[in-house]
């Protein structure tokens, strides 16, 4: 991988983390939602570099194109009508939130460093080969063989979610 590529990855990672930070702490929910979009984009780039081209696409389509837009709509539907509450951080949970989130850090740090050291085992050539191979076909094949059951099962989930969401959203006749 060239240094340029590495730079792009680094920038994507920084974008992801930075946007996420804004998502978390920006008092304006609208900005948060927008920065979530950037974060997702960054993640999509990271996926790309991790050899998950298909997933990067799905990430963009589903998250960036779907979920985030949905969220923005929701914000507009709700917040637009009452602007008062746009600034919504400052609730009494901030201190415990910070403390708890920071409290998680040492655990995560210790665990993930440990994990990172263990994982180095995979041979780099294989990794590179894996990263280079196109995933769409592989995934498609997997979905129809090994992963057919989750594939089918998730349809039931989606059906349920669909029916449920419609039921909730529909006004009483």
């Amino acid at each position: 991988m060239t240094n340029g590529m590495k730079w792009i990855l680094l920038i994507a990672e920084l974008l992801t983390v930075g946007s996420a930070l804004i998502v978390a702490i920006n008092p304006n929910i609208l900005y948060s939602a927008v920065f979530l979009l950037f974060s997702f984009l960054g993640i999509a780039v990271m996926y790309l570099f991790a050899g998950a081209d298909f997933l990067a696409g799905v990430q963009v389509v589903v998250y960036v194109g779907g979920v985030t837009i949905l969220i923005l709509f929701a914000i507009m539907l709700t917040q637009w009508l009452y602007r008062l509450k746009l600034k919504d951080i400052g609730s009494k949970f901030v201190v415990p939130g910070v403390v708890l989130a920071l409290g998680l850090v040492p655990f995560l740090h210790r665990g993930l460093t440990q994990l990172g050291k263990m994982v180095q085992a995979a041979p780099p050539e294989k990794m590179a080969e894996f990263a280079a191979s196109p995933k769409t076909a592989m995934i498609g094949k997997a979905l129809l063989t090994n992963y057919v059951l989750p594939f089918e099962a998730v349809t039931i989930l989606l059906l349920g979610a669909l029916v449920g969401a419609v039921w909730l959203a529909r006004p009483k006749a």
Partner: protein, 489 residues
Amino acid sequence: MLVSLKAFAPELTLVGFLSLLFLLDGFVPKLRENRFPLIWVIVSCFAAGVATAVGKGLSGDFFSGLVTETGLVAFFRYFFFFACGVTAYVTLGSKEIEERGRSEFSLLILCMTFGMSLMVLANHFLMLYIGIETVSIISFVLAGFNRESSRSNEASFKYLVYGAVSSGLMIYGISLVYGYTGALSYPAIAEALIKNNGTHPFVFYLALVMIYAGFAYKISSFPFHFWTPDVYEGSPTPVATFFSVGPKAAGFGALLHFVLTALSQKQEGGVFTPIAGIQLAPVMALISAATMVVGNLSAIAQTNVKRMLAFSSIAHVGYVLMGFVVMTPAAFSSIIFYLIAYCAMNLGAFWIVGIVTDEKKGSELSDFKGMGWRTPVMGVCMAIFLFSLTGIPLFSGFIGKFLIFGNLIQSQSYLWLALLGVLNSVVSLYYYTKILRAMWLEKPESSDSAELRLPLSQLVGLLGLALPTVILGLFFSPVLEMAQRWITQ
């Protein structure tokens, strides 16, 4: 593949009925005006149960090892189908579910039952996650099924937030396990763990706790229990009825399966021993103790019966978790017995709450005043259910506790937990009798002291739940033997 399909037949049956219902509803919109969808659910549950019975004897991994078929799975299938069927039956007479929504309701509980099956079947983290999420997402909707009720919506919202975070933690934990072992299926994880020879890295424990978050939230064990009372109280009663039995049992089934296949080694003779170095017992004991205490103590101060029963269901989770402390086949079969007993008595108790709620438009203790005298059969049934929940002999709840405590004592450790357990059951008596007090010991308000006639279907149903509660309390060995067979298969 065909064998896999055959193994999956009960769920397929369910899916088939589900799709048919979806189609029928689309083509014949009038169907939703009557009780057809609910009856359809009962029929499909019955059919799925028959399918389970027919497919009995298959065992092993199917669908490339994503799911596995054991006696345990068969038991939980029966359990879920039964719970779902009873819920539909309960809903038949309930006024809380909007008539227009019967179709959706039926569809959703069938979907949920499917998800619960998946949870228990899962032999692979992905399947587990899909199962849990299916159950969760549909639960969110069901909790808020009364669209026009703020309480129902609030229940739904809380459930959502709590569920999303817990399952998020779980999937993160799963990702760590994946990173650590490179595997997602339980047996492969067990293999990897065995290689550690008793010393497991920090990250494994980190992941384990995170994964437990998902289970704990599903079974509402301490400290992931906070949502339970709010959600049960806010949800329509038939939904709460289902929640208190179905997903909870599914969580236990999945946890049981996970613990048995991913964290234990199977020795000959069907005995499981935990993989060296995995000491679940001390932490399980603490969790169990805390769950019991929190559930029971909180229930004491409640005035809303539904909420009280919600806390009581938390307490019962504590008792069941005691079985995980011991981790012997006998303990697991006690868990199964407990779940069976709990199913009947808890469904019954919630059902009666539902009936009263329909009559009085509320489930406060004061709404129960004199109900025993107004409908003696219901009053007697409620007494049976509540005494059984307390663990008074003659009723199945006692046998459940008897077995669970017996296992603890047999293990000759954690006696303090047994002691705490029995004292908790005394505490529980206090609030259970509050309900009985209202029903029998207090006079109904004069305005409505007339006899309340229950429809035959409800009477039959209640007696159908009360009888097993009594019979299991006196002759429990067949069921216990069955549970032992299920565990060792």
